[in-house]
């Protein structure tokens, strides 16, 4: 889905979040000034998000505890973590679908903690999209405008522009059930963007798609985010997704932030064994001086002595072989090996091997 060139740029006009903007209807309709924004104004980054000591308790259980998080405007942020880590609750509190038990949530320096969802300047794209099954694509996209009381011709024109932006204009009259998963995802994106939010909140947006489509849609989401200059907050349990997309990764565990940073920083310097294991591609090794992480692609098989391990399985990956190993404690380890190296030293599962690495690649881990 290539983005349209500047000539046809149906980008909505920037307005205060949640304000209905239909004052100038209808004789002068359509409203071309809303469509030329890109050529008139430099893109102003929006969607600076701040969580200040935010907690969420459901009865006796604490889903999110004392969360502090700052996301600069125009950031693609991924909330990453295993299920039950509080990432979805965090997103829903930002969206206004859950009330924070404690703390404040700020969006572009406005405290939105107590505001209803539509008054926050956020829009949510739901898991499996939650398109209204009885409405056509056009009416789905126009739904929020209709709720604001925007007259029909204007809301349909704006919805059609949004559908054109996601290249779904030729499907405007279809019902959601007549669309493929990828098409539904685009309509859901158009529906979320039609209110011109400062922050788009995505709850596992790619989980309903097949792996091939997932990669393409991922790239599209990133392009939209950069083009619109707003923040995307994307909840996922897939570290691939987070590493590929995010300017800022927030890895959560048990309702707390385990580590946050750029994708590269996280992958290069995992703070704890949990982070190293969750991101994958790391070996967590118990050395006399404490636990360290070494990236799997920096771990080698030793010629002489080294860290002892047992080969469990080896898999051909196309670019080489991926070895699954286990050390004395049963910790799973991985090593990548090219064909030539394996041909020189044939291995079969069950073999005892020794691992080595450069001292510079050792990353000491905080004790859990």
């Amino acid at each position: 889905m290539p983005i349209h060139a500047a000539g046809r740029a149906p980008l909505p006009r920037i307005t205060a979040p949640g304000r209905a903007r239909h004052a100038s209807c209808c004789p002068g309709f359509p409203q071309p000034e809303t469509l030329r924004l890109e050529t008139l104004a430099p893109l102003k980054l929006r969607g600076a998000i701040e969580f200040v000591g935010v907690s969420k308790r459901f009865g006796a259980t604490t889903a999110v505890s004392a969360l502090d998080l700052r996301i600069p405007a125009g950031t693609y942020c991924c909330l990453l973590g295993p299920s039950g880590c509080g990432k979805t609750t965090t997103l829903r509190m930002l969206a206004g679908h859950e009330q924070a038990s404690d703390g404040d949530i700020l969006l572009d320096n406005t405290n939105v903690t107590g505001l209803p969802p539509a008054r926050r300047g956020t829009a949510m794209m739901f898991q499996s999209y939650a398109l209204f099954p009885h409405l056509s694509c056009l009416d789905n996209v126009a739904f929020s405008l209709r709720m604001q009381g925007v007259p029909k011709p204007e809301r349909h024109a704006r919805a059609a522009d949004m559908l054109a932006l996601v290249e779904m204009d030729s499907y405007a009259a279809r019902l959601p059930a007549q669309l493929s998963g990828g098409q539904q995802q685009r309509v859901a994106l158009a529906r979320a963007l039609v209110t011109n939010p400062a922050a788009l909140l995505l709850d596992e947006p790619l989980s309903a798609l097949d792996p091939f489509l997932r990669g393409r849609v991922r790239a599209e989401l990133k392009r939209f985010q950069q083009r619109l200059g707003i923040s995307f907050v994307h909840v996922t349990h897939s570290q691939d997704e987070a590493l590929a997309l995010a300017d800022w990764v927030v890895l959560m565990k048990d309702g707390r932030i385990e580590q946050q940073g750029t994708a590269m920083a996280l992958f290069d310097r995992p703070r704890t064994a949990f982070v190293a294991r969750f991101l994958g591609g790391h070996n967590v090794l118990a050395l006399p001086q404490g636990q360290v992480a070494v990236r799997a692609d920096r771990t080698r098989l030793a010629e002489g002595g080294g860290y002892p391990a047992t080969l469990r399985a080896l898999e051909y990956t196309g670019t080489g072989f991926s070895l699954s190993l286990a050390d004395a404690t049963g910790e799973e380890l991985g090593v990548l090996l090219d064909e030539a190296a394996l041909a020189a030293h044939p291995l079969t599962p069950g073999d005892q091997v020794a691992l080595t690495w450069d001292a510079a690649d050792e990353r000491p881990l905080d004790p859990a």
Binding site: G96, H97, A130, F132, H134, F143
Partner: protein, 277 residues
């Protein structure tokens, strides 16, 4: 095949017989096999003039009752279904409340109807309460054997026929849709009107069909609760049958059938029920 046979024997055959008999002639004491339009002609005799003929007035009275009952059962039935589907939090509680709704069905229709009489009669519970509270000095006459009592009994009897299909439709609504509506800035009423009601349409239509069919063909409830004073098509057919005017009754039944079928077809145009079931 056995099912088709059952249908043919107990549904198609009687219907055909009715259609055939509606074309027969009759005298005071005999039925005359014939092909005549007499029964239909007599039914609509005088209907071309400006004053309403008996048949039209009867149909109007029946339709009016039907409309009233439909409105009330739909409103109450939808509200109850909405409460059960969206407001009750636990599955157990929902089951318990649902069973509670069906409890009146343990007694027969007629008993449930008749039990209103001591409540609404001139010296009934309602009138005594009103008098002792000083709201009225004379007993209220329209409580019983009136259109009011007929509609009340119908609503009491048939609301569940709306509640059940609507509840079924509501339970199928993805709860995330309600959240998506809220996210789009819809108020509670907007969500109800633009999301819940359209998605409950199949249930609403099915419930409406139940109510319309039951009320249009009724003569017992209207008879008992209306004190045999209120005209309805079902009542007309019953009276004609009791005078052994079978061909006239059959013709009346055919017209009623056509009308009700027309109403159902119109309703099903609103929603594709086959797809929803």
């Amino acid at each position: 095949m056995p099912l088709a046979l059952v249908l043919a024997l107990f549904f198609v055959l009687p219907l055909l017989a009715t259609a055939v008999v509606s074309l027969w002639d009759y005298t005071e004491y005999s039925l005359v096999p014939d092909v005549t339009a007499r029964n239909y002609r007599e039914m609509f005799e005088g209907c071309a003039s400006f004053t309403l003929c008996t048949t039209f007035r009867t149909y109007l009275s029946t339709l009016k009752l039907c409309l009233l009952v439909w409105m009330f059962t739909l409103t109450i039935g939808f509200t109850v279904a909405y409460f059960l589907a969206f407001m009750v939090r636990t599955e157990t509680m929902r089951t318990v409340l649902f069973l509670l709704c069906t409890a009146p069905f343990l007694t027969s229709n007629v008993i449930r109807m008749i039990s209103w009489i001591p409540l609404l009669g001139r010296e009934g519970v309602a009138n005594r309460a009103l008098k002792s509270l000083g709201i009225v000095s004379q007993p209220v006459e329209w409580l019983l054997f009136s259109e009011f009592s007929v509609v009340l009994a119908f609503v009491h009897l048939y609301t569940l026929f709306v509640t059940v299909p609507v509840f079924n439709s509501l339970m199928r609504i993805d709860r995330r849709l309600l959240e998506a509506a809220r996210d789009a800035g819809a108020t509670g009423w907007q969500t109800l009107w633009h999301v819940v009601v359209p998605l409950a349409k199949p249930g609403i239509v099915i419930g409406s069909i139940f109510v319309i069919v039951l009320v249009m063909g009724d003569f017992v409830t209207i008879g008992v609760m209306g004190g045999q004073q209120i005209a309805s098509v079902g009542k007309v057919i019953q009276v004609q049958m009791s005078y052994l005017q079978f061909p006239a009754a059959a013709a009346q039944a055919m017209v009623l059938l056509a009308l009700v079928l027309g109403m159902i077809v119109a309703l099903t145009k609103l929603v594709d029920i086959r797809r929803e079931l």
